[in-house]
């Protein structure tokens, strides 16, 4: 189970990298980055998974005593939880760069941007 999740996350990361290296339009680069981001999240959640473990939230079904061995690792969950929202904000920042680029040049193709080429 964990291996399937890790493999899927890894596949997403690879698709993201592939897109970043082969695509030539800013918008597609942003999509690739989002895929990469999602893949990393999936991998992190997969790392924290413990077989037959449940969510680390105490209630009637899960007593505090003897919870070790019954719950998944709370640390990766906590990290991914914030990372998803940060990823959303960073994607918004990239998209607004794309909007400004398109407004100033009328194009989103990387080949049209020659200022930093050497």
């Amino acid at each position: 189970m964990t291996h399937i999740v890790l493999a899927l996350g890894f596949l997403l990361v690879c698709i993201g990298f592939w897109g970043l290296m082969t695509r030539k339009e800013v918008f597609r680069l942003i999509i690739s980055f989002s895929l990469l981001d999602t893949g990393v999240h999936v991998i992190m959640v997969g790392i924290g998974y413990v077989r037959t473990g449940t969510a680390p939230i105490f209630d009637e079904a899960l007593a505090v005593a003897g919870a070790v061995g019954k719950v998944v690792d709370p640390v990766p969950s906590a990290l991914v939880l914030t990372a998803i929202v940060i990823g959303l904000a960073v994607t918004a920042l990239m998209l607004s760069f794309a909007i400004r680029l398109h407004a100033s040049r009328g194009s989103l193709a990387v080949d049209d941007m020659k200022e930093l080429k050497w």
Partner: protein, 238 residues
């Protein structure tokens, strides 16, 4: 051709670097020593039923403050990028918008749906971050639900103008209050962002876990107002 070869080689290198790492991880390895400590002592130390919240708000509180800073920086960047060029032509644009230039009204279905769902979504967002220390949820998720309520409202009515002073005020005050709560922890309890300067309360009740609910409420308001600001900035520029 050369380029394609390089790309394939790079992907293969990534795969080779990652594969041994992935193969060492399995679901049987159990918790790490740190996670074991959090699971065993977290409930007694902090009194929050949701351990993920304990980690986010308290054990890794400084990380979360850093993430809130990243969010703030990204929002500032979006506003600066999309707001700067438009301020001069804003008035003119507003006039042309009134002529209905290109932008279509939301359909009646969307308008009715948004009016119906908006209060429910706001209530749900507030519920999520109020109960972040008891049930799955918290400030970040609740804030996103709040922002989605405003997104729906902005979709349905293209002439709607949000109160920017209120948005900015909510964002600034909640951010400052978050740091202030952290400093209170430094002064009254064990360290920066230590939530134990308030009574722990009864385990599993709404008023429990010290200052964790307060911090999550502040994070919820901050995330909600920031993401609403991003959505609004993107709408105004398009």
């Amino acid at each position: 051709m050369m380029k394609r070869l390089i790309i394939i080689l790079a992907l293969a290198a990534i795969a080779l670097g990652f594969f041994p790492l992935a193969m060492r991880i399995s679901g049987d390895s159990g918790l790490t020593a740190l996670a074991t400590h959090y699971v065993e002592a977290g409930a007694d130390e902090l009194g929050a039923a949701n351990l993920v919240t304990s980690v986010v708000v308290s054990y890794r509180g400084l990380d979360t403050l850093g993430e809130v800073m990243v969010l703030f920086t990204a929002t500032t960047g979006v506003t600066a990028l999309l707001g700067a060029g438009k301020s001069k032509s804003h008035k003119k644009e507003k006039e042309s918008e009134r002529d209905g230039d290109g932008r279509r009204e939301g359909s009646e279905l969307l308008a009715t749906g948004a009016a119906f769902l908006f209060p429910i979504l706001v209530l749900f967002g507030i519920y999520i971050f109020l109960n972040g220390h008891l049930t799955p949820g918290g400030g970040f998720q609740g804030g996103v639900v709040l922002a989605s309520a405003f997104l729906l409202l902005l979709f349905s009515d293209c002439r709607l103008e949000l109160n920017h002073a209120l948005l900015k005020g909510a964002e600034a005050i909640s951010g400052a209050a978050y740091v202030a709560v952290g400093l209170l922890g430094l002064w009254l309890a064990g360290g920066f962002l230590d939530p134990r300067f308030l009574p722990a309360g009864e385990f599993g009740q709404l008023f429990s876990a010290g200052a964790i609910p307060i911090i999550y409420i502040l994070i919820g308001i901050k995330v909600g107002s920031e993401l609403t600001g991003i959505v609004d900035a993107m709408r105004r520029c398009s």
